[in-house]
């Protein structure tokens, strides 16, 4: 790892939220087409953010804003570490810290919607973190290293079940139905987001985009090739594929209760990753003969 790559990683980290915003715009457009309507412009999320950032400041208490700022900082740090090629386990802990700060910020206000949302956010974290940890362990099994630096290995051929489990995690992380339990717009009016307004809502949105960017970065880890152009195109295609599956599921299901979310992610999600890890281990140890 040299200094030039750290500079490049910083530049990519600055650009990343805009890329995710465009992906979110594409998401909204495809959703609109699935519902037989025209839909907003592709850059709509960026317009929304510009509007939110130019509104006046209104805050409930300083603690909430400080914790929200820490959440955004931790999300940015996690993505930067991922691109810089840090240890996946450390990235995992930074990501957990981000989730913890977000939950604390939601607990810092007295609104019952925010409190319910914070509790659901915690249950959500308990549900998806073991799955993410197992996926990182799968990457270790194939690559022989916990480094997040891209390798030439085609991980999706080794870890197809872990990719499926990552789709489950994406549904939870991107707040898509049937697992949009923490924000649940029509039920608890945005959950942890309910008491942010104007500029601070924009700040939290940026944090969400960084988290989404990291989730997509983990998805992109599943494709590798010695040819850099093929690798780049393949990674992009895989991200689009994952996003399309998420949009399809989002538009064809209704929200489940948070208990159902935790049960499915912790049983099916975790089982997929464990079975996949066992098979990879068995093949590598020669228990299962492989041509």
């Amino acid at each position: 790892m040299d200094y030039l790559w750290l500079v490049i990683a910083t530049i990519i980290t600055v650009i990343a939220p805009f890329a995710v915003a465009v992906l979110a715009g594409i998401d909204r457009r495809i959703t609109a087409r699935m519902q037989n309507r025209v839909g907003p412009p592709i850059l709509q999320p960026i317009y929304d953010l510009m509007k939110l950032l130019s509104k006046t400041k209104m805050l409930i208490n300083k603690g909430q804003i400080i914790l929200a700022t820490l959440y955004v900082t931790m999300s940015i740090l996690a993505l930067w570490m991922f691109i810089a090629g840090a240890d996946l386990l450390i990235i995992f802990f930074v990501l957990s810290a981000a989730a913890a700060f977000y939950t604390l910020a939601a607990y810092a206000v007295l609104s019952p919607f925010s409190q319910i949302g914070a509790t659901r956010e915690l249950i959500q974290v308990i549900a998806y973190e073991p799955v993410v940890l197992m996926v990182f362990f799968g990457v270790y099994l194939v690559n022989g290293s916990f480094s997040s630096a891209a390798t030439d290995d085609m991980l999706i051929l080794w870890l197809p079940l872990m990719f499926a489990a990552m789709i489950l995690v994406l549904l939870v992380k991107l707040q898509k139905s049937p697992y949009d339990v923490a924000e649940a717009h029509t039920e608890i009016v945005g959950g942890p987001e309910v008491e942010y307004s104007g500029k601070f809502l924009g700040l939290v949105k940026v944090g969400h985009w960084y988290e989404a960017a990291l989730a997509f970065a983990v998805i992109s880890l599943f494709f590798g090739s010695p040819n850099i152009y093929v690798a780049f195109a393949g990674k992009l295609l895989l991200v689009f594929l994952a996003l399309f599956i998420v949009i399809l599921v989002d538009n064809s299901t209704a929200r489940l209760r948070y208990g159902q979310m935790a049960r499915v992610v912790l049983t099916y999600g975790l089982a997929l990753t464990v079975v996949n890890a066992l098979v990879v281990w068995a093949v590598q140890e020669g228990v299962i003969p492989w041509p």
Binding site: R28, A32, Q35, N36, R37, V38, G39, P40, P41, Q44, Y47, D48, M50, K51, S54, K55, T56, K57, M58, H185, T186, V189, G190, E193, V194, E195, Y196, S197, G198, L201
Partner: protein, 201 residues
């Protein structure tokens, strides 16, 4: 500060691209409410203008109001209006919200929305059609465009309430009055209790 006057040009310009609405029923018969929900359906697809139903005053930019303001909803309406960050727009949808219509001078209503908060856009109709609501939103965005360009635009309109001969419901004053009444009753009761044995003696 009434209406969208509080924002800088960039805020006004970006608001044109993504007006998020909050719908509040100040005492409507639900006729206009149904038309507003019809406007938000995929048939009219208002999301193509960036319009989203925020459902939260802290996230919203446009306050869409239906029905005459009743004395009970007045304090709630003021509360919601104050929770919205500047710049913001207020849209009165339907005849009742515009003027109070058949409820003018009724004992339980304040009249139109503009007797309580400044209104930027009036959308008349009983009930107003979704096309009229969309036209109202477009007019509101035109007004924002004018303000952003520094051109003169009609200010938000607030009617003087002094000419309406009714007692304005003030929750704090009402609470103070109730408290005083209870205190008076209590002191009368204790006096009575003190007096009673004396009478026996």
């Amino acid at each position: 500060m009434g209406g969208p006057g509080g924002g800088d040009p960039l805020a006004l310009k970006s608001l044109i691209k993504s007006p998020w609405i909050l719908h509040f029923d100040t005492g409507s018969c639900n006729g206009c409410d149904i038309e507003i929900f019809a406007t938000l359906t995929p048939l009219y697809d208002v999301e193509r203008f960036g319009i989203l139903n925020a459902g939260n005053p802290k996230h919203a930019d446009v306050l869409v109001l239906t029905g005459p303001v009743t004395q009970k909803t007045r304090s709630r309406l003021l509360n919601l209006y104050e929770m919205m960050p500047e710049p913001k727009l207020v849209m009165a949808v339907g005849d009742c919200a515009c003027s109070g219509a058949p409820f003018v001078n009724a004992y339980n209503t304040m009249g139109g929305v503009d007797t309580v908060i400044p209104v930027d856009i009036y959308v008349p109709g009983c009930a107003c059609r979704p096309e009229a609501v969309i036209d109202g939103v477009v007019k509101a965005l035109e007004k924002l465009g004018k303000l952003a360009a520094g051109e003169p635009a009609p200010p938000a309109h607030k009617r003087e309430v002094s000419d309406i001969p009714l007692e304005v419901y003030d929750p704090e004053a009402a609470a103070a009055k109730a408290k005083a009444a209870t205190a008076a009753a209590k002191s009368a009761a204790t006096k009575g209790a003190k007096d009673a044995p004396k009478e026996e003696v």
